[in-house]
């Protein structure tokens, strides 16, 4: 029952919250750059406008691939908030990412094909840390299930600071923020012309935007999971604060760093995953 309620809340509020955070992102970025910036609600206006635009496609299967991408991202979050197995969530998320890559490379377009290869590099870069994070939760709390993780005696972060650092590191890739926004960025003027989404217009682009909102909420949910602990209610407050802080951190990094080459993304995230995740893993294994 509780699971059903939280899934329904997620389905309704995740896009609203995700869109709002997106608006906030644009506002804060603008202020950092000395501009006024658009209204916080601008992302919603954009998406509504996208839905009203003419639908253009290069290749018919794009449609079902993008829709499947949206579906699996939502599915991932639904699993997470229903209290299911964390590994399952990450596998579903990987399946979703695969659909996006297929949608973008199916067009034989130079920009989106290049974007999809880069997206694959990004996936390869963050995937180890994602799996290790799930393992970390299991070692810290004895369960892969999110509903059981929040019921542990203390907040998991106490056992898994290394995993947290690693996860925040790859969060920059997942949230498509500079310097790690190789495959697509929020600015069409960059060398890749929006990469994976270059051939998506109108409602399909709107669908990917909504999928990103859902995905961001899921990712922040994972961040929150490090802190949540049902025996101490104030840990939820702490979780929300940390989530907002991480989101702000990503905006700050986005605005203060230039895009790097894929080698750096790949090597650095593997090294961070190996060191932060690996050492924490070893310690947890030893104390267990």
């Amino acid at each position: 029952m509780k699971a059903a309620v939280s899934v329904i809340l997620y389905l309704i509020f995740a896009p609203l919250l995700g869109g709002l955070l997106d608006g906030l992102d644009r506002k804060i970025s603008a202020r950092m750059q000395g501009r006024t910036g658009p209204s916080v609600l601008q992302p919603f206006y954009d998406v509504i406008k996208l839905f009203h635009k003419q639908s253009l496609m290069v290749y018919r299967p794009q449609f079902f691939l993008v829709v499947s991408y949206l579906f699996f991202v939502i599915f991932t979050g639904a699993l997470f908030f229903a209290g299911c197995d964390l590994l399952m969530c990450f596998f579903a998320l990987a399946a979703a990412a695969m659909f996006l890559v297929l949608a973008s490379c199916s067009t034989h377009s130079p920009y989106s094909s290049m974007g999809s290869q880069r997206e694959l590099i990004q996936m390869m870069s963050y995937e180890p840390m994602v799996l290790l994070t799930a393992v970390g939760f299991y070692l810290a709390t004895g369960s892969f299930r999110t509903d059981e993780i929040v019921q542990s005696a203390v907040s998991p972060i106490l056992y898994m600071p290394g995993f947290f650092i690693g996860f925040v590191y790859i969060l920059t890739i997942k949230m498509r923020k500079s310097p790690f926004d190789l495959s697509t960025s929020h600015h069409a003027h960059q060398e890749l012309v929006k990469g994976v989404t270059a051939e998506l217009v109108g409602d399909l682009l709107a669908a990917t935007t909504i999928a990103e909102w859902y995905e961001n909420i899921f990712l922040l949910g994972v961040i929150a999971l490090f802190f949540c602990n049902s025996s101490t209610p104030w840990s939820y407050v702490a979780a929300v604060i940390v989530c907002l802080f991480c989101y702000f951190l990503e905006i700050l990094i986005d605005n203060t760093s230039a895009r790097v080459k894929w080698n750096v993304v790949f090597a650095s995230s593997w090294i961070v995953s190996f060191l932060a995740g690996g050492i924490n893993l070893l310690v947890l294994d030893l104390v267990r």
């Binding site: 253009l56 018919r60 579906f71 579903a92 799996l131």
Partner: protein
């Protein structure tokens, strides 16, 4: 039932003998079809009879003096064959390996101390399962081979047509595999083990080109090295422990024999540092690769390792096997990224997956064996299908390079769907391979094995990369495509479609397999069983499985009714009217060629293979010395 087992083992040998002497092409075709079906029916009949008799582990054949003598003759014949071929091709060290092990075993058999009589054949869940895999997958490959070899010799006129020899070897292989998985006596096991080594050697050298001969001898010496380990293990068992039963070795945890047998298993399952023989095996026609990579040969290696698993839990042998397996899984999956040859990607993926199975066996817990068994099943079927699919594509396109498979979904739609099903089955949630990988990860965590967790976390990421990349190429579509004539024969499609149905069916039925095959197998092996899949996760997986199949299909069908305007792709306005050409700097149209990333400067064979081999060889050697030295002292 007692009559069926010798029939199952001997029938393929008889068919092989007949095919080897028969020169009539038409007759050969019908014999191959008939014999393949008979093999499958025999295996299924054995299954039914065994199930009707209560599905208990049964062992028989205690007094087998005559058969043992026949095997001695057989081993001497194999040794003679190896000597003759090695002399002809001047590969003298191979002779030493072959003579040493054969004479050791012959001496043991004829003049060695007598050991208490034990049974020679064991039929339990594991051997039954392997028989079914070998019969069904192997049988289908034989059917496929008939059509494939026709096409092969049609445009490879430079090779001598030795098709009768080829199909004979395939059946020989099947017979040896049945013998191998049913034997519980080490001497018998070794005899069939040698046959698989030698017949794979003969199959790899089929085309008799310089490369083929070179690669076949590499396969031979590596497998004979493993065979030597096997022979020494047997000698050790007989002289020190007075037993020749595999079950005794496992239940008494005789560490030195277990280590040597595991070493033999590692060579046969192409783990680092012995992976190169399997890569070299690609020179042979596709049915060989399909057979070596899926149901036979490499599966014989992991079969032995899984059998030894209970004796490897939490000891030095287990650590050795788990390390080699995990390391191979990781390194092979990285090298696969840098390969554009379709068969080579498949080869590295086989090595990588076998590494995972090996690692599971090395940990030796029921949970890891659960994962290992499911990996064996899923891998056998999907890999056999993928190899046959790539082989069929090669016959039509005259290339097996992934870069040439652009828009395959429009050019050869049926084969493209076959490849897509196979690839999805290999790595996408929630299909078979991924479930097994997930179970393996969970079990490694429970076993506190940090090293394996890291290997699997990083190796999964690279695995996803190379499969998705390939998938991209298949679905990537440019409007103008040259039509390709699909020369795939009916019998090839027959095998491919059955495989596709099997892959999908296995994915859907895996909970049933887990309950009726794997769990009883675990209780036979460990005395107790575990429930790896909790009911909650099972439901999620079923929901996910259905949504992964149903949702995209519905969306696809729906997309036919969505009104869209089709446009050309974005090329900075330099398009020449379609998606395949653009205006270059001289104002002339130029074809747009898109390529996948291979990143050879990071993941290239030269960068990773030899360092990987050296590292794993050093570890293997040190640990073997420690185990054997520690056991003797």
């Amino acid at each position: 039932m007692f009559a069926l087992i010798p029939a199952l083992v001997c029938f393929p040998f008889l068919v092989a003998a007949f095919l080897a002497v028969n020169k009539n092409e038409r007759l050969r075709r019908y014999v191959v079809y008939g014999a393949s079906f008979v093999v499958m029916i025999l295996a299924l009949a054995l299954l039914v009879l065994w199930l009707m008799s209560g599905a208990q582990a049964v062992s028989f054949y205690t007094d087998t003096h005559l058969i043992n003598l026949l095997m001695v003759v057989g081993e001497l014949f194999l040794m003679g064959l190896v000597i003759q071929l090695s002399l002809r091709h001047r590969k003298y060290p191979v002779i030493l390996l072959s003579v040493a092990q054969t004479l050791l075993l012959v001496w043991l058999e004829l003049f060695g101390p007598s050991v208490p009589k034990t049974t020679h054949i064991l039929l339990d869940h594991f051997s039954m399962l392997m028989c079914i895999i070998v019969a069904v997958v192997g049988g289908l490959i034989c059917i496929y081979a008939v059509g494939y070899m026709n096409g092969y010799h049609h445009h490879h006129t430079e090779f001598r047509d030795r098709r009768s020899f080829f199909v004979a070897m395939l059946f020989l292989f099947l017979g040896a595999m049945f013998g191998l998985v049913l034997s519980s006596n080490l001497l018998w096991l070794d005899f069939f083990w040698e046959i698989t080594s030698i017949s794979s050697f003969l199959l790899i050298g089929y085309t008799r080109t310089e490369e083929a001969i070179h690669n076949s001898f590499r396969a031979l010496w590596m497998n004979l090295l493993g065979g030597l380990g096997f022979a020494v293990a047997i000698a050790f068992c007989v002289l020190k422990y007075h037993t020749t039963s595999l079950q005794d070795v496992v239940s008494y945890q005789l560490l030195i024999p277990v280590a040597l047998l595991a070493f033999a298993g590692l060579t046969k399952s192409a783990q680092l540092p012995f992976s190169t023989w399997l890569l070299g095996a690609m020179v042979a026609p596709t049915p060989t690769s399909a057979l070596l990579h899926s149901a036979t040969m490499v599966k014989a290696g992991v079969y032995l390792l899984i059998r030894l698993a209970p004796a490897m839990h939490d000891n030095l042998v287990g650590y050795m096997v788990a390390f080699i397996g995990g390391f191979t899984f990781f390194v092979a999956s990285m090298i696969a990224i840098s390969q554009s040859d379709g068969k080579k990607v498949l080869a590295y993926s086989t090595i990588s997956n076998l590494g995972l199975i090996t690692a599971c066996a090395g940990v030796g817990l029921p949970e890891t064996i659960w994962a290992a068994i499911l990996l064996v099943i899923f891998h056998a079927v999907s890999k056999s299908m993928l190899f046959q699919g790539v082989g069929a594509v090669e016959n039509s396109l005259y290339s097996r390079d992934i870069e040439d498979m652009q828009s395959l979904i429009l050019r050869l739609p049926k084969l493209a769907y076959i490849l897509i099903v196979g690839i999805l089955g290999m790595f996408v949630a929630p299909f078979g391979m991924l479930i097994s990988k997930w179970a393996a990860l969970k079990a490694f965590v429970d076993a506190n094995n940090t090293m394996l967790i890291l290997f699997i976390a990083f190796g999964s990421a690279t695995t996803m990369f190379y499969w998705t990349k390939w998938l991209c190429k298949l679905v990537s579509v440019c409007k103008v495509v040259q039509p390709v004539k699909d020369v795939t024969k009916k019998n090839e499609y027959f095998s491919l479609f059955i495989h596709a149905i099997l892959v999908i069916g296995l994915c859907l039925l895996f909970p049933i397999m887990s309950i009726f095959i794997v769990e009883p197998l675990l209780s036979e092996m460990f005395g107790y069983t575990v429930t790896v899949l909790s009911a909650g996760n099972l439901y999620i997986m079923i929901i996910m499985l259905l949504s992964v199949i149903i949702f995209p299909s519905v969306a696809y069908l729906f997309s036919e009714h969505v009104h869209k305007k089709y446009v050309i792709s974005y090329m900075n306005g330099a398009n020449v009217g379609d998606n395949t050409n653009f205006v270059d700097a001289h104002g002339k149209p130029r074809e747009l060629i898109l390529s996948n990333w291979y990143m050879t400067d990071i993941f290239g064979e030269q960068k990773l293979l030899i360092p990987g081999q050296i590292l794993s060889a050093v570890v293997l050697l040190i640990l073997l010395c420690l185990i054997v030295g520690g056991g003797l002292l």
